[in-house]
Amino acid sequence: MFNLAIGLGVVLLLAILFLIFRISSLIGVAKGDTDKLETSSNKINGAMFLVFLVGTGFLFFWYSFKEFENYNLPVASEHGVEYEFLFWTTMAVTGVVFVLTQILLFYFSWKYQYKEDSKALFYPENNKLEVIWTFVPAVVLAVLVFTGWKVWTDITAPAPESTNHIEIMGYQFAWGVRYPGLDGELGNTDYRVIEATNSFGIDFNDKAAYDDFIPREMHIPKGEPVTFNIRARDVLHSVFAPHFRLKMDAVPGMPTSFTFTATKTTEEMREELNDPEFNYEIACTEVCGRGHYSMKLTLIVDEPEDYMEWYAEQESFLKRNPEYLSKVPTELKEVALLKTGIDNKELD
């Protein structure tokens, strides 16, 4: 019944609209509006452009200033500061061009609307003008490119020797994290040996793998270079840590990496934002299937001392899953036991 009433209402509304349309077009014919060019609707449209310019211009500035704190995420990495500089420089340059050209576009539209007694200016070309507005944008863009290029080469430069390697692996629909352990070297992996427990496909033929650990929480130190060694084991994913201005795709079959230095610990950020609940988050930004929107990883930035302490406490994968000792080649068993710190007696 209710649906029927709505349906009838819609039909009635459409009929009324149609009637209004018919009547107004008939009035138009009767008045002979259609043969004239300088009509009232031409004036209205011209004026609307000015109204639009002022109205949306106000909205744009008002909202941009009012919401600044909300859309401008705080920066927590060294290169993030340079990113911010580039972003806001570009914003300033394009902002000026944006405002000027939109004002000209709408102002001209209003100012030069049709008038019966005026004639347009026959002005087909001016090479000088063309050269100017080819050359000026070229110079401005060249400056933007070169500043961008310098920062880009810094960000993508090879990681320093001292960097902390951490592996992030994307899979449907979560992130796995693996640390290199005390030897500072991530062991090899092979996707063919992946199982429910050995979800990384750690290759136990590699000595470096024995002390690798897979923690429950992800920690990184403040003020030290950190390299994310990024990979995926099923489809494309993308590591996105917005506060660090960091993003890199995770590609099956092609390891990628991103090196950065965090500048604020989680605690410091909580104080800065006055939000005791704050946590750094990693999201996935390459569509990967049903759970794409839920691939969250929380990341904790510690003071270097706290980080060292946490790091030393972690137990290696092999120690937690001693059944995998059987996969270690016999000649390397001793090494494995040494590196993981498993007591021989425990095994017996």
Partner: protein, 622 residues
């Protein structure tokens, strides 16, 4: 020379008249070889696809703006894709996003825009009786139709249509284990795209051949309307880049069905390790974007061409910098092929390549800037008549500025690190590519409707349609910049899992409401379009007092376009408000020798030559 041409034309005319009598319904409206009817077929199919594509966006905007909303009322339409609790299925959300992109980019803005207007306008504006090959042209439409049928079918199958984003990156698109849509839906997607590419190539070859070979006497390249230049260059881009998409699709078919490993390597999924090794998903991205980026200009250039024509006509002024406009279009055409990897800055691409592509990408901003300045100067000191087409063209220039400038952010590889795959990108390309091209399409329809159907569209409805759409589009896409700067990723079913993205529910709601209002406004256009087709005011011969050749044909041109001889062309198409002339326009077919009062210095010489040629012709005939 000219006499033989005339004889040929006479024969042709005779032939066509003969033909007209026996043309039945099927050969006139369905399997037609008349470029005008084929253009209309593309237009109507494009509009239909536009409705479907936009309808999909309404459903996912409901999800994004009102995530808590009960959608049980959509069950009759979507069936099992609405869960028991009345929520949209996350996988179907991805399918909607994917199909919205595919439909809008390919079926609406490529086929619907360039298919319609290249077909309709090229012969009419260059002075040709039809396309170089009417038959190929017909095939082009019917391949597009076949593609449409296949794509449409994929929406209704049980596992749903392709759902890996419109770029269909493997491995997601290659593995049905990864997402349901990569099963039969993806197969149909690939089949449809293959048909689509064939259609575009048949059309493109035709456009190019026609523009090069069938121009009427006097219609040199330097006298072509900018619309034709735009369609011509669009066809060149399409012809060079679509085959690469074909290759990408073919390799994907092999990977999906025949066990090859072009794109697949080291994959463990669904509890098993796949045997594929040595492939590279990045290879697909390179191949895809080698079409994908030029594709942006395939939808952009026709819209810009239409705008140039409409703005010049209705501001009663020659387009400013005709040669610079052609130059910048040529620049865009060439550069469009060397910027593709800016879509891949964070894909794991070699950083050195990233620098190269950043440099090339920002160069392409220069010809775009030149075009904007030229449009502004064309409006300056004009005498602007706000037909609906003019309004949409001015709106288009506004989008070109807004969306173009954000391209400078994204083209910078450093800034792209943060903004890549966020709503900033969504805002950018919906303004500069989506809305701009839609506005070009609408401007074109309003402007050439009288030629297409012999009747006028209602102007007032057109004005209301414009203002609702123009304001609506800004209200939808401008807020997305803020959401994007805040880092909100695209293709997210919901953001509430993340603290960082849990704000802006209000803004998302606002965007959704703006979208619904804007979509509703399109029904004004649909009504206007179909109503005016039958009941609109009869169109005069040259309603916009325009210079181009199509307005010299009968009000409703038949097969062959001109009943008699094809008019000759004596001047460029932009002689508006020429000093000395009594009217504010001089069409292209008026000889310079007839307008001594308004001829410029160099034209005085040409006028003399015209007269001399005529007398020489007359003598040789005698």
């Amino acid at each position: 020379m000219s006499t033989t041409a005339e004889v040929n034309i006479d024969q042709e005319v005779h032939h066509d008249e003969h033909h007209d009598h026996e043309q039945g319904f099927i050969s006139k409206y369905i399997f037609t070889t008349d470029h005008k009817m084929i253009g209309k077929q593309f237009l109507v199919t494009g509009i239909m696809w536009g409705l479907i594509g936009v309808g999909m966006s309404v459903i996912f905007r409901l999800q994004l703006g009102f995530p808590e909303m009960q959608l049980t009322w959509l069950k009759p339409l979507l069936g099992g894709w609405i869960s028991e609790t009345g929520q949209l299925d996350p996988e179907f959300y991805l399918a909607l996003v994917t199909m919205h992109g595919t439909i809008m980019v390919f079926f609406v803005l490529t086929a619907g825009l360039s298919g319609t207007f290249s077909n309709y306008l090229i012969p009419l504006q260059i002075g040709a009786r039809d396309m170089a090959s009417g038959f190929m042209n017909m095939l082009s439409y019917w391949f597009f139709f076949a593609s449409s049928v296949v794509m449409m079918t994929s929406i209704f199958i049980e596992t749903g249509p392709a759902a890996g984003g419109w770029v269909v990156y493997p491995p997601l698109s290659a593995l049905p284990q990864a997402i349901q849509g990569s099963g039969l839906g993806m197969t149909l997607w690939l089949v449809a795209m293959v048909f689509f590419i064939v259609s575009m190539l048949l059309g493109g070859i035709n456009y190019i051949t026609t523009v090069i070979n069938l121009r009427t006497e006097g219609m040199s390249f330097s006298r072509l309307p900018l619309t034709i230049w735009a369609f011509f260059l669009t066809a060149v881009i399409g012809l060079l880049s679509f085959p690469v998409l074909f290759a990408a699709a073919l390799l994907l078919v092999f990977d999906r069905s025949f066990g090859t490993s072009f794109y697949l390597s080291d994959i463990y999924i669904g509890g098993e390790a796949l045997p594929n090794m040595g492939g590279s998903p990045i290879l697909y991205q390179h191949l895809f974007w080698f079409l994908g980026h030029p594709e942006v200009y395939i939808v952009l250039l026709p819209a810009l061409g239409i705008t140039s024509e409409v703005i010049a006509t209705n501001s009663r002024k020659p387009i400013f910098g005709y040669r610079a406009m052609i130059g910048s279009m040529l620049g865009i055409t060439v550069l469009s092929f060397v910027v593709w990897a800016h879509h891949m800055f964070v894909s794991g691409l070699n950083p050195f390549l990233g620098s190269v592509f950043m440099f090339l990408t920002l160069i392409i901003a220069i010809p775009s800037a030149v075009k904007v300045f030229n449009y502004l100067t064309t409006l300056w000191k004009g005498n602007i008549i706000f037909t609906p087409a003019t309004l949409f063209s001015i709106g288009l220039v506004s989008f070109f500025i807004s969306g173009g400038l954000t391209g400078i952010f994204l083209g910078n590889s450093v800034i792209d690190i943060q903004l890549h795959d966020t709503y900033f990108v969504v805002a950018h390309f919906h303004l500069v590519m989506g809305s701009l091209s839609v506005f070009g399409l609408l401007a074109g329809v309003y402007h050439w409707f009288p030629k297409m159907f012999g009747r006028m569209m209602d102007e007032k409805l057109g004005h209301i349609h414009f203002w609702m759409t123009f304001i609506g589009v800004y209200m939808i896409f401008f807020p997305m910049h803020y959401i994007g700067i805040a880092g909100f990723p695209r293709r997210y079913y919901s953001w509430t899992n993340f603290d960082a993205f849990s704000s802006y529910t209000d803004l998302n709601m606002f965007v959704s409401i703006a979208a619904f209002v804007t979509v509703a406004a399109q029904f004004l256009f649909l009504f206007n379009f179909f109503y005016s087709m039958y009941r609109g005011k009869k169109a005069p011969q040259n309603p916009w007092r325009s210079n181009t050749l199509e307005w010299t044909t009968p009000i409703e041109p038949g097969h062959g376009n001109w009943p008699g001889e094809i008019p000759k062309v004596y001047r460029w198409p932009y002689d508006y408000s020429k000093p000395g002339a009594d009217k504010d326009f001089i069409p292209q077919h008026i000889p310079l020798s007839q307008t001594p009062e308004s001829n410029l210095d160099h034209e005085v010489e040409l006028a003399k030559k015209e007269v001399a040629d005529k007398t020489a012709d007359a003598k040789s005939d005698a």
